[in-house]
Protein backbone atom coordinates (compact mmCIF):
# COMPACT_ATOMS: atom_id res chain seq x y z
CA UNK A 1 0.00 0.00 0.00
CA UNK A 2 1.54 3.31 -1.02
CA UNK A 3 2.03 5.79 1.78
CA UNK A 4 2.66 9.49 1.69
CA UNK A 5 6.06 10.99 2.39
CA UNK A 6 7.12 14.57 2.60
CA UNK A 7 10.58 15.97 3.08
CA UNK A 8 12.74 18.88 2.14
CA UNK A 9 15.15 18.10 -0.69
CA UNK A 10 17.78 20.65 -1.64
CA UNK A 11 15.76 23.30 0.13
CA UNK A 12 12.46 22.52 -1.56
CA UNK A 13 9.49 20.86 0.11
CA UNK A 14 8.53 17.70 -1.76
CA UNK A 15 5.87 15.09 -1.27
CA UNK A 16 5.25 11.74 -2.83
CA UNK A 17 3.35 8.52 -2.58
CA UNK A 18 5.57 5.47 -2.30
CA UNK A 19 5.46 1.81 -1.39
CA UNK A 20 7.09 1.41 2.03
CA UNK A 21 9.79 -0.69 0.36
CA UNK A 22 10.91 2.27 -1.74
CA UNK A 23 14.46 3.28 -0.90
CA UNK A 24 15.34 6.92 -0.48
CA UNK A 25 17.60 6.67 -3.52
CA UNK A 26 14.70 5.39 -5.60
CA UNK A 27 12.53 8.22 -4.38
CA UNK A 28 15.20 10.76 -5.30
CA UNK A 29 15.95 9.28 -8.70
CA UNK A 30 12.60 7.96 -9.86
CA UNK A 31 10.10 10.28 -8.19
CA UNK A 32 12.07 13.51 -8.09
CA UNK A 33 14.29 12.96 -11.14
CA UNK A 34 17.41 13.72 -9.12
CA UNK A 35 19.60 11.24 -10.96
CA UNK A 36 22.88 12.61 -9.64
CA UNK A 37 22.64 10.19 -6.76
CA UNK A 38 23.80 6.82 -8.08
CA UNK A 39 23.44 3.17 -7.23
CA UNK A 40 26.66 1.21 -7.59
CA UNK A 41 26.03 -1.84 -5.45
CA UNK A 42 23.35 -3.72 -3.58
CA UNK A 43 25.22 -4.41 -0.37
CA UNK A 44 25.50 -0.85 0.96
CA UNK A 45 29.22 -0.57 0.43
CA UNK A 46 30.12 1.49 -2.62
CA UNK A 47 28.85 4.85 -1.43
CA UNK A 48 27.77 6.16 -4.85
CA UNK A 49 24.41 6.92 -3.24
CA UNK A 50 25.61 9.05 -0.32
CA UNK A 51 23.43 12.07 0.44
CA UNK A 52 23.04 14.22 3.53
CA UNK A 53 20.06 13.56 5.77
CA UNK A 54 19.61 16.33 8.31
CA UNK A 55 23.16 17.41 7.55
CA UNK A 56 24.77 14.03 8.09
CA UNK A 57 25.99 11.68 5.37
CA UNK A 58 23.93 8.56 4.78
CA UNK A 59 23.72 5.88 2.14
CA UNK A 60 20.41 6.54 0.45
CA UNK A 61 20.33 2.92 -0.75
CA UNK A 62 20.13 1.78 2.85
CA UNK A 63 17.40 4.07 4.00
CA UNK A 64 13.73 3.79 3.18
CA UNK A 65 12.07 6.86 1.80
CA UNK A 66 9.57 6.59 4.65
CA UNK A 67 12.41 6.75 7.16
CA UNK A 68 13.39 10.10 5.71
CA UNK A 69 9.85 11.42 6.07
CA UNK A 70 10.15 14.88 7.59
CA UNK A 71 13.90 15.08 7.03
CA UNK A 72 16.05 17.63 5.25
CA UNK A 73 17.87 15.91 2.43
CA UNK A 74 20.71 17.37 0.39
CA UNK A 75 21.90 15.70 -2.79
CA UNK A 76 24.76 16.49 -5.14
CA UNK A 77 22.38 18.67 -7.14
CA UNK A 78 21.87 20.89 -4.11
CA UNK A 79 25.48 21.87 -3.44
CA UNK A 80 26.34 24.49 -6.02
CA UNK A 81 24.95 27.98 -5.72
CA UNK A 82 23.86 28.68 -9.25
CA UNK A 83 26.97 28.46 -11.38
CA UNK A 84 29.27 28.63 -8.38
CA UNK A 85 30.50 25.22 -7.36
CA UNK A 86 30.71 24.27 -3.71
CA UNK A 87 34.37 24.51 -2.61
CA UNK A 88 34.57 20.72 -2.45
CA UNK A 89 33.19 20.36 -5.96
CA UNK A 90 35.66 22.96 -7.18
CA UNK A 91 38.52 21.16 -5.45
CA UNK A 92 37.61 17.87 -7.12
CA UNK A 93 37.75 19.59 -10.50
CA UNK A 94 40.96 21.46 -9.79
CA UNK A 95 42.72 18.31 -8.57
CA UNK A 96 41.31 15.90 -11.15
CA UNK A 97 39.60 13.95 -8.39
CA UNK A 98 37.21 12.27 -10.77
CA UNK A 99 37.33 10.31 -13.99
CA UNK A 100 34.15 8.50 -15.02
CA UNK A 101 32.12 10.56 -12.57
CA UNK A 102 29.95 7.73 -11.31
CA UNK A 103 31.24 7.52 -7.73
CA UNK A 104 31.81 11.28 -7.67
CA UNK A 105 28.51 12.51 -6.21
CA UNK A 106 28.77 10.13 -3.27
CA UNK A 107 32.43 10.88 -2.89
CA UNK A 108 31.81 14.62 -2.72
CA UNK A 109 28.93 14.24 -0.27
CA UNK A 110 31.05 12.00 1.98
CA UNK A 111 33.97 14.40 1.72
CA UNK A 112 31.87 17.33 2.88
CA UNK A 113 30.64 15.34 5.86
CA UNK A 114 34.19 14.26 6.62
CA UNK A 115 35.23 17.90 6.79
CA UNK A 116 32.25 18.66 9.04
CA UNK A 117 33.65 16.12 11.53
CA UNK A 118 37.33 16.88 10.88
CA UNK A 119 37.87 20.38 9.50
CA UNK A 120 41.59 19.91 8.82
CA UNK A 121 41.97 16.23 8.04
CA UNK A 122 45.33 14.50 7.55
CA UNK A 123 45.90 12.23 4.56
CA UNK A 124 45.35 9.23 6.81
CA UNK A 125 42.11 10.65 8.20
CA UNK A 126 40.87 11.29 4.68
CA UNK A 127 41.73 7.79 3.53
CA UNK A 128 40.00 6.24 6.55
CA UNK A 129 37.08 8.60 6.16
CA UNK A 130 36.48 7.26 2.65
CA UNK A 131 36.01 3.71 3.86
CA UNK A 132 32.41 3.78 2.69
CA UNK A 133 33.13 5.01 -0.82
CA UNK A 134 34.64 2.97 -3.63
CA UNK A 135 36.23 4.52 -6.70
CA UNK A 136 37.56 2.28 -9.46
CA UNK A 137 39.11 4.99 -11.65
CA UNK A 138 41.35 7.31 -9.71
CA UNK A 139 43.28 5.12 -7.29
CA UNK A 140 42.07 7.74 -4.75
CA UNK A 141 45.32 9.70 -5.08
CA UNK A 142 43.70 12.79 -6.52
CA UNK A 143 40.55 12.37 -4.45
CA UNK A 144 42.66 12.63 -1.32
CA UNK A 145 44.39 15.71 -2.72
CA UNK A 146 41.04 17.21 -3.66
CA UNK A 147 39.58 16.68 -0.21
CA UNK A 148 42.59 18.26 1.44
CA UNK A 149 42.21 21.27 -0.82
CA UNK A 150 38.44 21.30 -0.44
CA UNK A 151 38.75 21.22 3.34
CA UNK A 152 41.13 24.17 3.26
CA UNK A 153 38.73 26.09 1.03
CA UNK A 154 35.80 25.27 3.32
CA UNK A 155 37.77 26.54 6.32
CA UNK A 156 38.13 29.75 4.32
Amino acid sequence: MPVGVSMTVNGKAVTGSVEPRTLLVQFLREHLGLTGTHVGCDTSQCGACVVHVDGISAKSCTLLAVQADGAEVTTIEGLAKGDELHPMQAAFRENHGLQCGFCTPGMVMSAIDLVRMTPDPSEQEIREGLEGNICRCTGYHNIVKAIKAGAAAMRG
Binding site: M1, V3, E19, P20, R21, L23, D42, T43, S44, Q45, G47, V50, I56, S57, A58, K59, C61, T62, L63, L64, V66, Q67, D69, S110, D113, L114, M117, G129, E131, G132, N133
Partner: protein, 265 residues
Protein backbone atom coordinates in the same frame (compact mmCIF):
# COMPACT_ATOMS: atom_id res chain seq x y z
CA UNK B 1 12.65 -6.07 -1.40
CA UNK B 2 9.34 -7.73 -0.79
CA UNK B 3 6.43 -5.59 0.25
CA UNK B 4 5.81 -4.83 3.91
CA UNK B 5 3.88 -2.42 6.11
CA UNK B 6 5.82 0.33 7.84
CA UNK B 7 5.17 1.71 11.32
CA UNK B 8 6.89 4.41 13.25
CA UNK B 9 5.47 4.39 16.79
CA UNK B 10 6.31 7.00 19.42
CA UNK B 11 6.71 4.73 22.43
CA UNK B 12 8.40 1.46 23.24
CA UNK B 13 5.10 0.00 24.35
CA UNK B 14 3.47 0.82 21.02
CA UNK B 15 6.47 -0.56 19.17
CA UNK B 16 6.33 -3.79 21.11
CA UNK B 17 2.62 -4.11 20.51
CA UNK B 18 3.09 -3.45 16.80
CA UNK B 19 5.68 -6.19 16.49
CA UNK B 20 3.59 -8.65 18.45
CA UNK B 21 0.45 -8.00 16.47
CA UNK B 22 2.14 -8.35 13.10
CA UNK B 23 2.20 -11.66 11.26
CA UNK B 24 5.98 -11.44 10.99
CA UNK B 25 7.08 -8.15 12.44
CA UNK B 26 10.64 -6.93 12.53
CA UNK B 27 12.11 -4.03 14.41
CA UNK B 28 13.92 -1.45 12.33
CA UNK B 29 16.64 0.37 14.27
CA UNK B 30 19.46 1.82 12.13
CA UNK B 31 18.70 -0.65 9.39
CA UNK B 32 22.32 -1.15 8.48
CA UNK B 33 21.97 -4.93 8.46
CA UNK B 34 18.23 -5.32 8.07
CA UNK B 35 17.83 -3.20 4.93
CA UNK B 36 20.65 -4.91 3.00
CA UNK B 37 19.10 -8.23 4.02
CA UNK B 38 15.72 -7.14 2.72
CA UNK B 39 17.25 -5.77 -0.48
CA UNK B 40 18.77 -9.18 -1.15
CA UNK B 41 15.32 -10.69 -0.55
CA UNK B 42 16.76 -12.88 2.17
CA UNK B 43 13.89 -12.03 4.51
CA UNK B 44 10.26 -11.10 3.97
CA UNK B 45 8.79 -9.57 7.12
CA UNK B 46 5.17 -8.48 6.96
CA UNK B 47 5.81 -5.35 9.01
CA UNK B 48 8.72 -3.12 9.91
CA UNK B 49 8.48 -1.21 13.16
CA UNK B 50 10.83 1.77 13.09
CA UNK B 51 12.11 2.92 16.48
CA UNK B 52 13.43 6.24 15.17
CA UNK B 53 10.80 8.40 16.84
CA UNK B 54 11.17 6.96 20.34
CA UNK B 55 13.10 9.62 22.22
CA UNK B 56 13.63 7.53 25.35
CA UNK B 57 15.84 5.11 23.40
CA UNK B 58 18.44 7.73 22.58
CA UNK B 59 21.28 9.25 24.49
CA UNK B 60 24.27 8.53 26.67
CA UNK B 61 24.46 9.06 30.41
CA UNK B 62 26.89 8.30 33.20
CA UNK B 63 25.33 6.91 36.34
CA UNK B 64 27.71 6.07 39.14
CA UNK B 65 30.25 3.66 37.77
CA UNK B 66 28.26 2.88 34.69
CA UNK B 67 27.89 4.33 31.24
CA UNK B 68 24.36 3.84 29.96
CA UNK B 69 23.81 4.07 26.25
CA UNK B 70 20.34 4.17 24.74
CA UNK B 71 19.60 1.47 22.22
CA UNK B 72 18.97 3.92 19.36
CA UNK B 73 22.22 5.79 19.92
CA UNK B 74 24.21 5.87 16.70
CA UNK B 75 27.72 4.47 16.52
CA UNK B 76 29.01 7.92 15.55
CA UNK B 77 27.45 9.38 18.68
CA UNK B 78 29.10 6.77 20.87
CA UNK B 79 32.43 7.39 19.15
CA UNK B 80 32.15 11.15 19.62
CA UNK B 81 30.76 11.09 23.16
CA UNK B 82 32.99 12.86 25.68
CA UNK B 83 31.53 10.64 28.42
CA UNK B 84 32.35 7.43 26.60
CA UNK B 85 35.76 8.71 25.58
CA UNK B 86 36.67 9.55 29.16
CA UNK B 87 35.07 6.59 30.94
CA UNK B 88 35.54 3.75 28.45
CA UNK B 89 37.80 4.96 25.66
CA UNK B 90 38.03 1.43 24.27
CA UNK B 91 34.29 1.52 23.62
CA UNK B 92 34.51 4.86 21.81
CA UNK B 93 37.38 3.54 19.77
CA UNK B 94 35.40 0.40 18.91
CA UNK B 95 32.43 2.47 17.81
CA UNK B 96 34.65 4.67 15.68
CA UNK B 97 35.73 1.68 13.61
CA UNK B 98 32.41 -0.03 12.97
CA UNK B 99 31.64 -0.31 9.27
CA UNK B 100 32.20 2.98 7.53
CA UNK B 101 31.25 6.58 8.37
CA UNK B 102 27.80 6.27 6.85
CA UNK B 103 27.13 3.03 8.73
CA UNK B 104 28.21 4.77 11.93
CA UNK B 105 25.88 7.67 11.16
CA UNK B 106 22.85 5.39 11.01
CA UNK B 107 23.72 2.16 12.80
CA UNK B 108 22.73 1.78 16.43
CA UNK B 109 23.99 -0.06 19.47
CA UNK B 110 20.66 -1.76 20.06
CA UNK B 111 20.34 -2.85 16.46
CA UNK B 112 23.82 -4.30 16.46
CA UNK B 113 23.45 -6.41 19.56
CA UNK B 114 19.89 -7.51 18.82
CA UNK B 115 21.08 -8.77 15.45
CA UNK B 116 24.13 -10.45 17.03
CA UNK B 117 26.01 -10.86 13.79
CA UNK B 118 28.94 -13.16 14.60
CA UNK B 119 31.30 -10.60 13.05
CA UNK B 120 29.84 -7.51 14.74
CA UNK B 121 31.98 -5.50 17.17
CA UNK B 122 29.61 -4.49 19.96
CA UNK B 123 28.88 -8.00 21.24
CA UNK B 124 32.56 -8.33 22.18
CA UNK B 125 32.40 -5.11 24.17
CA UNK B 126 29.21 -6.12 25.95
CA UNK B 127 30.62 -9.46 26.93
CA UNK B 128 34.07 -8.24 27.98
CA UNK B 129 32.70 -5.31 29.95
CA UNK B 130 30.02 -7.51 31.59
CA UNK B 131 27.37 -5.14 30.34
CA UNK B 132 23.73 -5.37 31.23
CA UNK B 133 21.23 -5.23 28.40
CA UNK B 134 18.03 -3.47 29.39
CA UNK B 135 14.83 -4.26 27.56
CA UNK B 136 11.24 -3.17 27.89
CA UNK B 137 10.68 -6.30 29.94
CA UNK B 138 13.80 -6.98 32.00
CA UNK B 139 17.55 -6.72 32.41
CA UNK B 140 19.77 -9.38 30.87
CA UNK B 141 23.46 -9.88 31.52
CA UNK B 142 25.60 -9.96 28.40
CA UNK B 143 26.65 -13.48 29.37
CA UNK B 144 23.04 -14.56 28.98
CA UNK B 145 22.09 -12.30 26.12
CA UNK B 146 24.15 -13.65 23.23
CA UNK B 147 22.90 -17.16 22.71
CA UNK B 148 24.25 -18.14 19.31
CA UNK B 149 24.65 -17.20 15.69
CA UNK B 150 22.27 -14.27 15.10
CA UNK B 151 20.47 -15.48 18.23
CA UNK B 152 19.79 -13.60 21.44
CA UNK B 153 17.73 -14.04 24.57
CA UNK B 154 15.19 -11.52 23.29
CA UNK B 155 11.65 -12.77 23.01
CA UNK B 156 9.04 -11.68 20.46
CA UNK B 157 8.20 -8.04 20.96
CA UNK B 158 10.99 -7.54 23.46
CA UNK B 159 12.96 -4.43 22.62
CA UNK B 160 16.43 -3.46 23.78
CA UNK B 161 16.13 -0.04 25.39
CA UNK B 162 19.67 0.56 26.63
CA UNK B 163 22.93 -1.07 27.53
CA UNK B 164 24.68 -0.34 30.77
CA UNK B 165 28.45 -0.70 30.66
CA UNK B 166 30.37 -0.87 33.95
CA UNK B 167 33.47 1.33 33.73
CA UNK B 168 36.57 -0.88 33.65
CA UNK B 169 40.02 -0.10 35.00
CA UNK B 170 41.57 -0.91 31.68
CA UNK B 171 40.22 -2.03 28.38
CA UNK B 172 41.08 -2.18 24.71
CA UNK B 173 39.62 -3.59 21.53
CA UNK B 174 41.69 -4.86 18.64
CA UNK B 175 39.98 -5.69 15.39
CA UNK B 176 41.44 -7.55 12.47
CA UNK B 177 39.04 -6.55 9.75
CA UNK B 178 37.92 -8.65 6.84
CA UNK B 179 39.69 -6.83 4.03
CA UNK B 180 36.57 -6.83 1.86
CA UNK B 181 33.59 -6.33 4.15
CA UNK B 182 35.52 -4.64 6.95
CA UNK B 183 33.59 -6.68 9.49
CA UNK B 184 35.74 -8.35 12.15
CA UNK B 185 37.54 -11.47 10.97
CA UNK B 186 38.68 -11.49 14.55
CA UNK B 187 38.01 -8.86 17.17
CA UNK B 188 39.24 -9.19 20.73
CA UNK B 189 37.98 -7.00 23.55
CA UNK B 190 40.00 -7.20 26.74
CA UNK B 191 38.78 -5.55 29.95
CA UNK B 192 40.08 -5.51 33.49
CA UNK B 193 37.59 -4.47 36.12
CA UNK B 194 38.88 -4.87 39.65
CA UNK B 195 40.28 -8.36 39.90
CA UNK B 196 38.12 -9.58 37.05
CA UNK B 197 39.55 -9.85 33.56
CA UNK B 198 37.42 -10.68 30.58
CA UNK B 199 38.54 -11.53 27.06
CA UNK B 200 35.76 -11.61 24.49
CA UNK B 201 36.25 -12.64 20.88
CA UNK B 202 34.02 -11.76 17.97
CA UNK B 203 34.27 -12.67 14.31
CA UNK B 204 35.82 -16.02 14.92
CA UNK B 205 33.31 -18.20 16.72
CA UNK B 206 30.86 -20.28 14.75
CA UNK B 207 28.35 -19.64 17.54
CA UNK B 208 29.10 -15.96 17.74
CA UNK B 209 30.93 -14.02 20.40
CA UNK B 210 32.72 -16.04 23.11
CA UNK B 211 35.10 -15.63 26.03
CA UNK B 212 38.56 -17.15 26.36
CA UNK B 213 38.73 -18.31 29.95
CA UNK B 214 42.32 -19.50 29.79
CA UNK B 215 43.46 -16.02 28.81
CA UNK B 216 41.22 -14.44 31.41
CA UNK B 217 42.72 -16.37 34.28
CA UNK B 218 46.27 -15.81 33.06
CA UNK B 219 45.63 -12.08 32.78
CA UNK B 220 43.89 -11.91 36.15
CA UNK B 221 47.21 -12.99 37.67
CA UNK B 222 49.42 -10.90 35.43
CA UNK B 223 47.86 -8.34 33.11
CA UNK B 224 50.53 -8.35 30.45
CA UNK B 225 50.88 -9.59 26.89
CA UNK B 226 53.56 -11.99 28.04
CA UNK B 227 51.08 -13.71 30.33
CA UNK B 228 49.09 -14.97 27.34
CA UNK B 229 51.94 -15.40 24.88
CA UNK B 230 51.90 -19.13 25.29
CA UNK B 231 48.16 -19.63 25.10
CA UNK B 232 47.00 -21.07 21.80
CA UNK B 233 43.30 -20.91 21.11
CA UNK B 234 42.19 -24.15 19.46
CA UNK B 235 40.93 -23.84 15.89
CA UNK B 236 38.10 -26.28 16.51
CA UNK B 237 34.74 -24.58 16.30
CA UNK B 238 36.07 -21.42 14.71
CA UNK B 239 34.73 -20.01 11.47
CA UNK B 240 36.46 -20.72 8.21
CA UNK B 241 35.90 -18.92 4.91
CA UNK B 242 37.87 -17.74 1.91
CA UNK B 243 39.39 -14.93 3.94
CA UNK B 244 40.56 -16.90 6.94
CA UNK B 245 40.84 -20.53 7.87
CA UNK B 246 40.03 -21.61 11.40
CA UNK B 247 43.76 -21.98 12.06
CA UNK B 248 44.47 -18.45 10.90
CA UNK B 249 41.62 -17.11 13.00
CA UNK B 250 42.91 -19.00 16.02
CA UNK B 251 46.34 -17.48 15.45
CA UNK B 252 44.87 -14.00 15.04
CA UNK B 253 42.96 -14.30 18.31
CA UNK B 254 46.30 -14.69 20.08
CA UNK B 255 47.89 -11.77 18.23
CA UNK B 256 44.92 -9.46 18.70
CA UNK B 257 44.54 -10.41 22.37
CA UNK B 258 48.19 -9.61 23.08
CA UNK B 259 47.92 -6.33 21.21
CA UNK B 260 44.75 -5.46 23.09
CA UNK B 261 46.41 -6.12 26.42
CA UNK B 262 49.33 -3.92 25.38
CA UNK B 263 47.01 -1.18 24.23
CA UNK B 264 45.03 -1.36 27.47
CA UNK B 265 48.29 -0.61 29.29
Amino acid sequence: MYEFEYHRPGTVADASAAVKSAADGRILAGGMTLLPTLKQRLASPSDLVDLADIAELKGISVAGNEVVIGAMTRHAEVAASADVQSKIPALAQLASHIGDPQVRNRGTLGGSIANNDPAADYPAACLALAATIRTNEREISADDFFTGLFETALSDGEIVTAVSFPVPDKAAYMKFANPASRYALVGVFVAKTGGDVRVAVTGAGSDGVFRVSEMESALAGNFSADAIAGIAVPADGLNADIHASAEYRAHLIGVMARRAVQAAG
